[in-house]
Amino acid sequence: MNLIEMNSICKSYRNIGFETQVLNNVTLHIGEGDYVSIIGPSGAGKSTLMAIMGCLAQPTSGEYILDGEEVGKLNDRKLSRVRNEKIGFVFQAFHLLPGVTALENVTLPLVYAKQTPGNAKERARELLAKVGLEHRLHHTPGQLSGGEQQRVTIARSLINDPRIILADEPTGNLDSKNGIETMKTFDNLVKEGKTIVLITHDSEVAQHAGRIISILDGQIDSDSGVHRERNTLSL
């Protein structure tokens, strides 16, 4: 069974006077433990696809089945639970709470978790160390560089130990050294069995994934399919 199953997903934004068709009939299945990268030109609809995948937006039409549950039929409480427990987001625009320390930003998902683990602070510290920010625990986003903010976002996405990580340009603001570190982190996460969907412009970064999907004008342009080698490996 696929973890992510999108069937004929369309998304359009209706504004006063005009309608923008952003996703057009996208069908996409991703299995548990897959490492998928999505590439495509700016404005192709990559971030929109990720928002629907992460239950942050509802498709205009089509069916989305996440972990066996039809997302369109879930109520707000269940959807929130899904976002909280199953998905970790790394946003293109970081989306950290302003005026709140890195440590607290990382623990934010635990505020809304069913139960907060006792070692929340400790875990957050470990994760920040993992992304090389052990010396910036008490800095607020305003006091951090773009790359540092991005790494806080990665740490936050991991705090609740989600099965799926949706990352939108995670290396976009990083220098090559930090970029490589980040990609190593993701590679390790895949080894731990996590499912990763990575949006990127960088074809080298995209190569880390076992499957590359290219999006053009809201449609799937090409899909490498699951890399045989990886597939047999994971079996």
Binding site: A51, G54, L56, A57, R77, S80, R83, E85, V111, Y112
Partner: protein, 404 residues
């Protein structure tokens, strides 16, 4: 739930000025409600005290028709049908009446040595003191014999004492009214003004018999003070007095009363009307100021929600439910409401106590108004916070995240 509360508290703490300004409307509203209710209660009690001070279960029978003019009762016309005999028939024949005091008065000049002052010369019986609740500060009441033999003795009120004697002790002195000498045998305790604002201490009381024989030469009187046997009997006594006087004055059914009855209840009713109007006004003003305060909260919360739309998106993305978001903003508006309410109560109670202590106003703190005010702020906080909070929670997380 605790975490929502903490989030709300921290958000408010981060915007101290705005939080304070938002609660200012509620603060002023609550404070003014408390102070104004206290003023209302105070003035009501003051009026009721004055009425009660005029004599317990008092019914006043006035000769002639009385008409209300500008909230006060004034006598019209000159009527000479009311007599001392009427007074005694009232006590003798009406069970609900405890005692009566026929009464006559006139503004006259009194002299002591070289001093002279205009004062009210009043004639009545011994029971006048009991019925009208006058007490002696010194000296004594005139005796039965004084009344019978129309002796020239007088009991004097404090205002008249000041005007005639200054600092001197009036006891045993002799004043002259109309060239007639009166010996001062008693001094009244001060009593203050009556419901019409007249000084009840500007008075020289002499036996009615003396008054009727030596001051004026007439058979009729202008007033009878009656004490009903109990508060419950005031209405019944009044009715019986009316019947008795109409019969006594041989008034046929087609003629109006030639007297007017004013009971303690009538006065209370009359004053209640004005205080009730005042109370309604207070409630109106209070409601408006609280509403304005609530709108202040609404405005601040709307701004707060708008400028924190991205924050809402972030929280939703990491797992906050709509309910979590509503709760967070509701707590914020509730805290603002309670902050304003709390400070308003402190200010209101402080002002009330301060004005009573140093302003010499009579204010009565009404615990009810504080209680109601507290509920009002909680209510306003919820009512005016719910709308922006729901608005915030309705957004799609992605929309909230991409809002500029």
């Amino acid at each position: 739930m605790i975490s929502s509360f903490l989030i709300a508290f921290r958000a408010l703490f981060a915007h101290k000025t705005r939080t304070f300004l938002a609660s200012l409307g509620i603060l002023i509203g609550i404070a003014s409600v408390i102070v104004m209710v206290a003023i209302g209660k105070g003035s009501q009690k003051e009026v009721m005290d004055v009425i009660a001070g005029m004599g317990e279960n008092l019914i006043t029978v006035n000769a002639g028709e009385m008409k209300r003019r500008g909230g006060r009762l004034r006598l019209t016309g000159n009527v000479n049908t009311l007599t001392v005999r009427d007074a005694y028939r009232i006590t003798d024949e009406i069970a609900e009446v405890e005692m009566v005091a026929p009464f006559e008065e006139k503004r006259m000049v009194a002299k002591f040595g070289n001093n002279s002052a205009e004062t009210t010369i009043a004639g009545s019986t011994r029971d006048f003191l009991i019925i009208r609740d006058y007490h002696l500060q010194s000296g004594e009441q005139f005796s039965e014999r004084d009344s019978k033999t129309a002796n020239r003795v007088a009991i004097i009120g404090m205002t008249a004492v000041k005007n005639l004697f200054g600092e001197e002790d009036p006891m045993g002195q002799v004043i002259k009214v109309h060239f007639i000498p009166f010996k001062i045998i008693g001094v009244f305790e001060p009593k203050g003004v009556d419901t019409n604002g007249l000084d009840q201490d500007d008075l020289v009381l002499i036996p009615l018999s003396t008054y009727m024989r030596r001051i004026v030469n007439q058979k009729h009187i202008t007033r009878i003070f009656v004490r009903a046997s109990s508060r419950n009997n005031i209405a019944k006594a009044s009715e019986k007095i009316r019947e008795l006087l109409r019969e006594n004055h041989k008034l046929t059914d087609d003629r109006n009363d030639d007297f007017t009855l004013v009971s303690q209840l009538d006065l209370e009713e009359l004053k209640k009307e004005t205080t009730e109007l005042f109370t309604k006004l207070i409630v109106g003003v209070a409601a408006i100021s609280l509403l304005v305060g609530g709108i202040g909260i609404l405005a601040v919360m709307l701004i707060s929600v708008k400028e924190r739309t991205r924050e809402i998106g972030i929280r939703r993305a990491v797992g906050a439910t709509r309910r979590d978001i509503i709760r967070q903003f509701l707590y914020e508006s509730l805290i603002i409401g309670f902050l304003g309410g709390g400070l308003g109560i402190i200010l209101g109670v402080g002002l009330t106590l301060g004005l009573t202590k140093w302003g010499h106003w009579i204010l009565i703190l009404d615990p009810n108004s504080i209680w109601t005010a507290s509920w009002a702020c909680a209510g306003l906080g919820i009512f005016f916070g719910v709308f922006p909070a729901i608005k915030a929670s309705k957004l799609d997380p992605m929309e909230a995240l991409t809002t500029e």
